[in-house]
């Protein structure tokens, strides 16, 4: 197992290198804005633009810039400075990370509880009205784009502009460190909106898997042995049917920790997603690099954890 983990960790390092390299190359090959010209403002003389280009090292070949960036990153954990605000990228990312983690973790909890719960209920009562209603609603949940759902939720329930003003809405995010209660209330709506499509997808997936598993021979055997239906479903059926859910959960959570751009935008949550978006719009390469690397880091590590977790979930899985 340890050898497997070490091998995967080496892959993680390689992947992060590859991601950083590809991001760098894309930035240089595609027509994005010129950071030196942007920084120089509206009426600079050419000498000033050239001087800024030199100061930022943008007059060097791209591979020199990339080498310098990676050197600073590896030896000093230095992601560089934002071209736009002159603030260290590490500081920008760490100041945004708590909001993204808050959003992703809360929503993940919700969609797991709801998605798995609904999936189980639908699977154990197939073709009933409850099954059909829950799967129909799940389909609606999957089809509804998160930005649309977010806006509808705001116009319906937001405490400032909603028709039924019961929940804090846009521009109300409060960090956990400032006021835990306000943090919780400010995130209720974003959590629910973000969780809807995931919960819907998970419930449909689990229903399908569990229905199939519950028809397996070993389940029949378990029932024949006189085990309670609860034990059959949860101990024997669910443990097997939930494996694909764990796989996609790892990926989904990893992606969201790297930033939920749409949800963060609709609810004005100052997280990594919004930081990525604004840095792309402003061609702020150091910030783009930082956020992309962070996203990649979360995704590959979430995958690693999922793979390790498999061994505990399914006794047949062994890593040699």
């Amino acid at each position: 197992m340890i050898r497997y983990i070490l091998r995967r960790l080496l892959w993680v390092v390689f992947l992060l290198f590859a991601v950083s390299f590809i991001t760098f190359v894309i930035f240089y090959l595609l027509p994005s804005a010129d950071p030196a010209a942007l920084r120089a403002g509206r009426q600079p003389n050419p000498a000033l633009v050239a001087s800024i280009r030199h100061q930022l090292g943008l007059d060097q070949p791209w591979y020199v810039q990339y080498g310098r960036y990676m050197k600073n990153l590896i030896f000093h954990f230095d992601f560089g400075f934002s071209y736009q605000n002159g603030v260290p990228v590490r500081q920008l990312i760490f100041s945004r990370l708590p909001a993204s983690i808050s959003l992703a973790a809360g929503a993940a909890f919700l969609w797991l509880v709801v998605g798995i719960g609904v999936g189980i209920i639908a699977a154990v009562r197939p073709r009933t009205k409850l099954d059909r209603a829950s799967m129909g609603l799940a389909l609606v949940g999957i089809s509804a784009p998160v930005y649309w759902l977010g806006l509808v939720a705001l116009y319906l329930f937001s405490s400032d502009i909603g028709l039924i003003p019961i929940l804090p809405g846009a521009n109300s995010y409060v960090p956990l460190s400032e006021d835990p209660f306000s943090w919780f209330t400010s995130l209720i709506m974003p959590w629910c909106v973000l969780a809807v499509s995931f919960a819907a997808f998970y419930s449909r997936l689990l229903r399908g898997n569990l229905t199939e598993v519950l028809n397996e021979d070993y389940i029949r055997t378990a029932r024949a042995k006189g085990l309670s239906e609860r034990r059959v479903v949860f101990r024997h059926g669910l443990r097997s049917a939930i494996t694909p859910i764990v796989t996609i959960f790892g990926l989904d959570l990893g992606i969201l920790l790297g930033g939920a751009i749409l949800t963060e935008t609709v609810f004005n949550i100052p997280g990594i997603g919004r930081l990525s978006y604004s840095s792309i719009v402003r061609s702020d390469l150091p910030v783009i690099q930082g956020t992309v690397l962070l996203g990649a880091f979360f995704i590959v590590f979430a995958n690693l954890f999922v793979d390790i977790f498999y061994a505990f979930l399914d006794p047949r899985v062994r890593y040699e």
Partner: protein, 589 residues
Amino acid sequence: MKSIRVCSAALLALMLSLTVAACGSSSSSNTSTKVGAVPAEQSLTGKTGGNLTVVASSDVDYIDPGAAYYQFTFMVTTATQRALYSFGPDDAVNAVPDLATQAPDVSSDGKTVTVKIKSNVKFSPPVNRAATSADVKYAIERAFLPTVANGYAGAYFGDIIGVKEFQDGKATEISGIDTPNSTTIVFNLNRGTGGVVAGALALPISAPVPKEYAAKFDAKNPSTYGVNQVATGPYMIEADSKGALTGYEPGKKINLVRNPNWDRATDFRKAYLDTINIEEGNDDTTVASRQILSGNGQVNGDFGPPPPVLKQIVNTTPDQLALTPSGGLRYVSLNTTLAPFNNLNVRKAVLAVFDREAMRATRGGPLLGPIANHFIPPAMGGFDEAGGLTGTGVDFLKYPKGNLALAKEYMKKGGFPSGMYTGSQQLLMVGTSGGAAQKSSEVAAAQLEKLGFKPKLRLVTQDSMYTKFCNVPKAKVVICPNVGWLKDFADPQTILDPTFNGKNIVDVNNSNWPQLNVASVNSAMDSAEVVVGASARNKAWAAIDRQITAQAPAIPWIWDDTANIRSTNVAGVINKFNSNWDLSFTSLK
């Protein structure tokens, strides 16, 4: 050197603003009868205390006052910094002494500008001492440092003697800025551009910066003084005891608190509010606008309400709306160096056919400002002299909805006998993707097609549009449909010189988008730059505006009004110079 000493308040205003609008000459641009228009005189009384929330979409361009250049940033700097001169809420044209004690003394040859400053304006903690002329000198010097990268220092202060040596690293100070004592600063210039230098002293570049404190931050690349800045205004950005800002998180928030060292007796600002929180990142401006309108203690920051919301406000709660001329305009630029627009008659034909009302509709219609007929906008010196709202009299800008017959006449004169463009060449047109800008691009493309042109519209982000395409002559963009210019201060030079002077065509960050390079226009600008005296300057630049308009280098289509909104319990005061809420005068009811 003979000096013109300006004593009275009226003349002070004239010297500073270099415009005749001080005498009310811009009356034709008065919008006071329009729904939501800001009255000529706003009530400046208010209740002390409370917190205001400024709802913003993006961050300031630079938190460093030495680099700040956008309206939204000026909204912050005017509350936290005291430049030599500043604008009161109701006068967009005439600046008043702020750190200065009186009007600038401009020599008759325009080569020397002398300013006396107050001795009792103190920096916020941790500096805690009175600002001196040396601090103003350093503020201007640091603007020329590449680590600070001010975008306008070269344009307005580039004629100060010794700037080049300083920029080249051959001198440690700018030799042309003298500080004979702690309350006097003298700018010595290579050319007689004292008039425009005096006007530019109302920009935040002239707010004092203590060298002994800031130099270590300016030595970093980029300078970190912005996130360690000290204030002289009534407010400061929340900071720790060492001066490091704690109230600024880029893209998230800017928290302003009272500056404990500010002395009300030295300032014209009222500073009613106790705290001001700028909440950034409200990308959905529809939601943000509704939030302001239905909420408490909120105003908009860097965005205006989208057209549907604006329409709703006008119909339901017009008292929550404040419309004011922005001092800017939007136009579609035609590259005068590339075929077919290197042909003057073809350009005139395009201007003649253009439906500018359709263009204006993409931004919200007549409420958002009059259709532009020339380039100096309302509420600027030279506007009336150049023809005011009716225009300079050229026939190809006479029809706001366009005139196809007239356009065809010009096409025939331009060598297209059928009156239609018969070339096969596709014309590269680069616009901004998304929102009203994209709609404007699409409408502009449709107008060009009326005469048989084949525009090839490419939509990119706004920054890419400027820095990779329209600002780069080598990119050979034929049409830039989403460009525009905003005044820096009320001198018409700030509108026309960067955008139509042939000598300002540069390889990178070129803002003369049509690349107009007409000898007679260039030489007229050279002469006008050194004219001293507001009336004479306005006349000179108005004549240049007429010359430029006759060259048809671009299609001016709107002189923008800025729409601002507030919650019902906010006694909002607009700063007409900045076309935005004046945080130093706004209060809660």
